[in-house]
């Protein structure tokens, strides 16, 4: 494999073939419950901000390119393999029927396995799990990792009445992920209830919704000691650039020092003697516990690497969302030409970190 084909896309998307997924769902769900108005879509609407606001996305954005389209894209851009995430399922946290969540996660995962993973080794994937009912999420996580070969599961960064992702509610999921040695990735997409419910133009919710929800998830996970409690767990924070991580490091250190939490029952993170929050985050990055999706051309990527080292950053195309082959090539070109990153940094971002996060073979 040439050096170009070693590139791993750490966060691409399938656009769901809803009719095919429906075939994997029990008849009770398909026959009576799908709305014609929503195109028989078993996924809930993502939010009010994604619709009724006219804007143009790059040509081909959100096209259902299918497996062959994906393979053509990988060839054209020079990417070896990709890790696939959902599109419609980014709204998975908004499902309120637990049974629906259980069945839909299973159907989506089975469809993704049959249509992609079983057809080409160039496809890897993160599954959906019914986090609404963690005991069931644990069962589905085990099934998809052991039986279907998924790299782990995606958790939506926002949902309906979802506790923050450091909440005790989700600890069984993290415990199972640790046992399985698989990855947990957090991915945004639903941008309401983040102070932007009246925001226009649309660019602002897109720009800020991803990092804000990642910052909340990251805060909950860091401060509630998830990385201490599950020392084998690897967590990725996808599609939000990398500046938010620096903002968290900047802000968390100051706030933790100035608001010294009373912790009589040892609920929260445990710093080592003399360790600051920033040291704690750096330690867990160094230990391969924290990964950050980036597109490679971020304004802050060089500064982020300077501060944290190159180990967390995972190149991500976002294809076929608001990108196409040309914009992805451009991003790769910018990354390769970045004079402030070393060859080792670039290799880290382009494939090494994804290999470690998703436990992919070299």
């Amino acid at each position: 494999m040439g050096s170009e084909n070693r590139i791993i896309d750490g966060d691409g998307h399938v656009v769901e073939d809803l009719a095919s997924i429906a075939k994997y769902l029990p008849e009770e769900y398909v026959g009576r419950s799908f709305s014609e108005a929503r195109g028989k879509n078993p996924f809930p609407p993502i939010d009010h901000l994604h619709s009724a606001n006219r804007h143009y996305t790059p040509k081909g954005a959100f096209a259902n390119v299918g497996r062959e389209g994906w393979e053509l894209f990988l060839e054209d851009v020079g990417i070896g393999t990709t890790v696939l995430y959902t599109s419609a399922g980014l709204a998975f946290g908004k499902i309120v029927s637990r049974d629906w969540a259980i069945e839909l996660a299973r159907a989506y995962n089975n469809w993704l396995y049959d249509a992609y993973l079983s057809k080409s080794h160039r496809f890897n994937a993160m599954g959906l799990i019914p986090l609404q009912e963690p005991a069931e999420a644990v069962i589905e996580l085990r099934r998809i990792v052991r039986d279907l070969g998924f790299s782990g599961a995606m958790l939506p960064s926002m949902g309906v009445n979802m506790p923050h992702l450091g909440s005790q509610k989700y600890w069984p999921i993290y415990g199972e992920a640790e046992r399985l040695g698989c990855a947990i990735a957090i991915h945004g997409g639903a941008h309401e209830n983040l102070l932007m419910d009246d925001m226009s133009p649309y660019a602002v919710p897109n720009a800020l919704g991803h990092p804000m929800s990642q910052m909340i998830g990251f805060a909950g996970i860091i401060f509630n000691g998830i990385l201490d409690k599950y020392p084998g767990l690897r967590i990725g924070f996808m599609e939000a650039g990398c500046a938010w991580l620096l903002t968290c490091m900047e802000r968390f250190s100051g706030s933790w020092a100035s608001h010294v939490q009373h912790d009589p029952r040892g609920r929260f993170l445990q710093l080592k003697k003399g360790e600051k929050i920033i040291d704690y985050i750096l330690r867990h990055i160094d230990e391969g516990r924290i990964f950050i999706g980036c597109e490679g051309e971020e304004l802050s990527i060089s500064e982020a690497v300077r501060i944290t080292g190159n180990k967390p950053y995972v190149f991500s195309t976002d294809y076929p969302h608001e990108v196409d082959a040309d914009t992805c090539k451009h991003e790769l070109e910018e990354l390769r030409e970045n004079p402030n990153l070393s060859a080792d940094d670039k290799d880290g971002i382009l494939f090494r970190n994804a290999q470690r996060f998703y436990q992919l073979a070299n």
């Binding site: 506790p163 602002v204 909340i216 620096l246 900047e250 100035s258 500064e303």
Partner: protein
């Protein structure tokens, strides 16, 4: 090190309000309707209470005018621009009349107790943004008759009532500020309804609540063309560090390019030919339209200066909130010892930028 060898302006200090003195300036009907604990102000949110954490000694002390002067003498500050403490929750007042009367009373009290007593005190006023036509009157009165530098707008308020601050509801305020050539300082403090409502420990709420409010309002003001429409208004985004600012530049650039807004009525910002969002922000930084409050020891400060230059960043003590004399001295010392900032950068942060933002005499 002594900080007294430098000129230093504190661009964001706080008074802890004397409720009885403020309420004495309100009509009697209002005075009879509130208790002594919080005075005439609504609570910030549920997050500031019922979560045990320890603050630095002296935090939130009612130091009064004399205490403030002692602080400035000890730390080596030339002057301070004062913001409220309880008034940070001003956006949560739902009675329009209450907001009008309280703003007037606070501003009169601030003038009588601080501004008229020492030239070392400047201040931003409270204005009843709930009713912009009344806010215009109070802004005019506070600037022209009482000598305030401008007004503070709370970054967050009542869910469903306070719009993002680029909304045309607030344009009459900016129109008046444009006419008066005064500044508008945006300040956070109310952290609910932004995805953190179940977050514990408290530190991440403090860490993220401030930048979230600033990110959203910066996006709203920027993309709704407020800088284009009101070319004399200077906006400051206070107490949120600077990581959020470069994060916005990173995210806004990408999102505006990938979500090209249809704008048939010219509602949104106007880029010049070939100008990018980053260029647009830099141009407005360079033209003294955008200022950012910092404490001087931020992780990302040198990077932010490398991206936008040193002109926006204003040293802010936050005294007497979660700081005291010693922590402020440490912050100033860290700024002084920062090897990645030049002497010119440091002077800009210490006083030059505050002079321009608040139109202070040299």
């Amino acid at each position: 090190m002594t900080t007294k060898k430098y000129k230093i302006i504190d661009g964001d200090g706080h008074v802890v309000e004397a409720h009885s003195e403020i309420s004495a300036r309100m009509p009697a009907i209002y005075r009879e309707r509130f208790g002594s604990a919080r005075g005439p102000y609504p609570p910030n949110d549920h997050l500031h209470a019922a979560n045990a954490h320890t603050l630095p000694p002296g935090a939130f002390a009612k130091v009064g005018r004399e205490g403030w002067i002692d602080f400035m003498e000890d730390v080596g500050l030339t002057s301070a621009v004062l913001y409220p403490t309880n008034g940070l929750s001003f956006g949560r007042i739902v009675s329009l009349d209450w907001a009008i009367e309280l703003a007037k009373a606070y501003n009169d009290w601030m003038h009588d107790e601080y501004l008229s007593k020492s030239s070392r005190f400047q201040a931003l006023s409270l204005i009843p943004l709930q009713e912009p036509s009344e806010a215009v009157k109070e802004l005019r009165r506070s600037v022209q008759e009482l000598g305030f530098c401008g007004a503070m707008l709370p970054s967050t308020g009542v869910m469903g009532a306070q719009n993002q601050l680029g909304d045309d509801k607030y344009w009459p305020i900016y129109e008046e500020a444009n006419r008066l050539k005064c500044c508008i300082g945006i300040h956070g403090g109310v952290h609910d309804h932004m995805g953190l409502d179940d977050m514990t420990p408290y530190a991440p709420v403090n860490a993220l609540g401030h930048p979230f409010g600033q990110m959203v309002n910066f996006g709203g003001i920027l993309f709704n063309g407020v800088f284009d429409r009101y070319p004399n208004v200077r906006f400051g985004f206070m107490e949120a560090g600077c990581g959020w600012f470069t994060g916005c530049i990173e995210r806004f650039e990408r999102a505006w390019n990938s979500h090209i807004q249809y704008d048939p009525r010219g509602r949104f910002l106007k880029l010049r030919e070939k100008e990018s969002i980053t260029d647009y922000i830099k141009r407005h930084v360079d033209e003294d339209r955008i200022f950012v409050g910092v404490e001087g020891d931020e992780l990302t400060l040198p990077f932010a200066v490398s991206i936008v230059g040193n002109k926006p960043f204003i040293f802010s003590s936050d005294f007497p909130h979660e700081v005291n004399n010693e922590t402020c001295k440490e912050e100033l010392e860290e700024l002084e010892e920062n090897k990645r900032l030049t002497a010119v950068d440091k002077d800009a942060v210490r006083y030059r930028n505050a002079e321009r933002f608040y139109s202070l005499k040299n």
